[in-house]
Symmetry: C3
């Protein structure tokens, strides 16, 4: 990396978006640019100097309609380390409960000269609707089961760090695909970069229809395991499920949990990822979570770098 | 505006208050000074440079005993953009629930070398009591139905921006006057600046007694509409009412909501204001809220400027 | 104090700890060093310049599993005044409620390049367990009834300010000793500095066993009162008690409350302390709380200085 590329003097002219709503609509070039920028931010903040004040005087607002600590904190820290001010808005106790519409709440936030709104909402498409109604930047931090683009980016950045080019790699997303915005963002991003994607889980959580996206659908982890370069173990999102998709947690773990025995049958250099929070004993056993294949904490660290990159790219040129 | 007036080097000697408790006790000169200072902060922060670090090392504490997101956020952002640190105290989970008195809580906050306490409390007069017991600055962010001085100031600043001198303008406050601290602060401020003030709403919410303040009392919006330069549409504060003051929301909207038809009978340049959060379909219809007469979002932006001005004036010279 | 000692250029080489878990394991030299450093921070921030940016780019996380406003705020302000970023994590709404283990939560926080975790937890030993599992600094902000080292330090700093050397002073801790982490931290710190410590309260809250720590156990405040240089009046922690340890609050106040009459029988220069929040009329009457012997608010101010010192000492050299 040259000095020129890391001074963050101005957002590259090839980046023209003031929002990050999903990975589906990003071009492959844009995807590469975000990842490269994130890698540069990571390198630039690896030492003592964790702060790079490229967004002085800017304000970033977290507008979260669903509980979140880690994503919210990650965005907030990313903004602060870029020298921006942060504002926290939550649905609880806010004007929303006084009958204000969602768009009015957002316009009020924007009117306080906020430069970017980071939004998490249970309804798919909310960030897209917001982007049509405000002039400030909009970053999707998760819209229901639809997309969670910065999670997809940080997962991909983590693979890229360990494997370089993603083309030709086989990446399996395991678990609750039906309710997972992380799965959708990963699928779009991984496919654009040439990876082979498998979604794997119980038939109640993995529809055959996913094949239409040009990915492989599997119901047996043991069948696909020997071919996988990366496993991304999704949480069973009990809080999003209205029916019981499998007989018991024990049954699920028996078929889909990564444990020592399965590691022994996997590729020697397999990467084990999980978006967290992990349920030890459900989708992953402690030996694997804390073992040499796990890059789970790298994902968290990369989340910061990705969010710094996304915030800078979208509002770094905002006047 | 000259350079000299916008460098914010020191608080004008004509300002001698270390608290802002209400608009009732401000002199007209003081009122002009706050408004002019707010206008200067707005201009100085209109471009990219939103931060003016005139309060470095100072700390501002939000001490809110009532839920609030927008006022709290506005004060917090104002403080941060002045370079101050902010501290958030809320009644929930705080020492107040362990039996500590309100004054002891405040004295503890002050003992952490806090320079200003921004207080919202359901009891009228709480900020005044606090000011007698602490040495730091006290800013009233709403004391029950009594006053909400920064809301009054931002409303007036918004009118001033669009109309210049307020003398001779007719401003109507419409709706729930009885429970509205915004109404009270507006009345004191507007009268000092020479405006003619009308309070208008159902008889259950607008007592004839208000005439004693030297303002006009009206029960029919349609009667006064042709004379009004500004309408300030107050929220029906369902949360403050213990009785049903009108038969139905539909009935209220029929008589008092600003809609397209009423706009057609108003002055061509009428300003439509609302302190927010607005209830679309109750006191205002969407066409009006989003229409050319609405300055509702200007109010939000001006709230920041007013709070920057008030914080700087009250604690800018604090040692 | 010389200029050299207050420039905070680098952490003294005699300090080698990256955690502050308790006062029990501190050496007397270490204790003196923290106190001296805190005194220097207090002096250096006494004027307008409250900010000493010796932790630029560092991040401090408050990880609180028990409600707290004042301790949390004190740590947060201390960090901000040192130029560090702060992150707030609370158990409510966080990943802990999604089934994540405590250690995983902490490791995730650390993976965001956090330099210190300030932890409060209801289980004794939690900070010690955490320190064994993360590489960042760990500060104990209260672990159940075990220790609350910064509270002990601020209490001692307050005595030191008013009396200088603590050797030979008689300090009585009065009230709910059984449930008090403040008592334990005070006992360890005070004994290391040569003070004579008395614990005093109802037999249901003060076991005879405390004598094994080399301190005096008393059940009558009136008996020990004439000998005391300092009284530290602990809160009756109703929220930690599962049984009724005394017949009534009135009975407790009759025997243990500091009031005007007891002051008249105490040493002329007795210091009255209380960790707060105080219950006026229970352990202390208003005349005493607001009287000339009370240094209760000094304790709060000193809390800031102590926390600045502790944060700087533990992570000031962290790379």
């Amino acid at each position: 990396m040259t000095t020129a590329s890391t001074d963050f003097a101005s957002v590259p002219q090839t980046w023209r978006r003031s929002h990050l709503l999903d990975l589906e609509s990003l071009t492959t070039d844009e995807l590469h640019l975000v990842l490269e920028t994130a890698a540069q931010f990571k390198e630039a903040t690896a030492g003592c100097a964790r702060k790079i004040s490229v967004l002085p005087g800017k304000t970033v607002c977290n507008l979260f309609f669903e509980n979140s600590t880690r994503t919210r904190t990650s965005f907030s820290l990313a903004a602060k380390r870029l020298g921006a001010e942060t504002v926290e808005f939550s649905a609880t106790g806010s004007s929303v409960s006084k009958g204000e519409t969602f768009i009015d709440t957002a316009k009020n936030i924007e009117a306080m000269n906020v430069d970017a709104i980071v939004i998490r909402h249970h309804t798919p498409g909310t960030p897209h609707l917001l982007a049509q109604n405000v002039h400030c930047g909009v970053i999707n931090a998760g819209d229901g089961p639809h997309e969670h683009p910065t999670q997809g980016l940080l997962d991909i950045l983590t693979i890229r760090e360990h494997r370089g080019d993603l083309a030709g790699l086989t990446v399996a997303l395991v678990g609750d695909i039906a309710h997972s915005r992380t799965a959708r963002s990963n699928i779009w991003g991984l496919k654009k970069l040439g990876a082979h994607v498998i979604v794997c889980g119980p038939a109640t959580l993995v529809a055959r229809d996913w094949e239409k996206l040009g990915i492989e659908v599997a119901y047996s982890l043991d069948d696909i395991l020997p071919r996988c370069d990366v496993l991304n173990l999704l949480r069973i999102q009990f809080e999003r499920q209205t029916t019981r998709p499998f007989p018991s947690v024990r049954e699920y773990a028996l078929l889909y949990a990564m444990n020592r025995e399965r590691i022994s049958r996997a590729k020697k250099d397999i990467l084990i990822m999980a978006p967290g929070p992990i349920n030890r004993g459900v989708e992953i056993t402690p030996e694997v979570a804390d073992g040499p294949h796990s890059v789970i904490l790298d994902q968290v660290t990369n989340g910061l770098a990705v969010r710094m990159a996304v915030l800078w790219l979208t509002i770094g040129n905002h006047v």
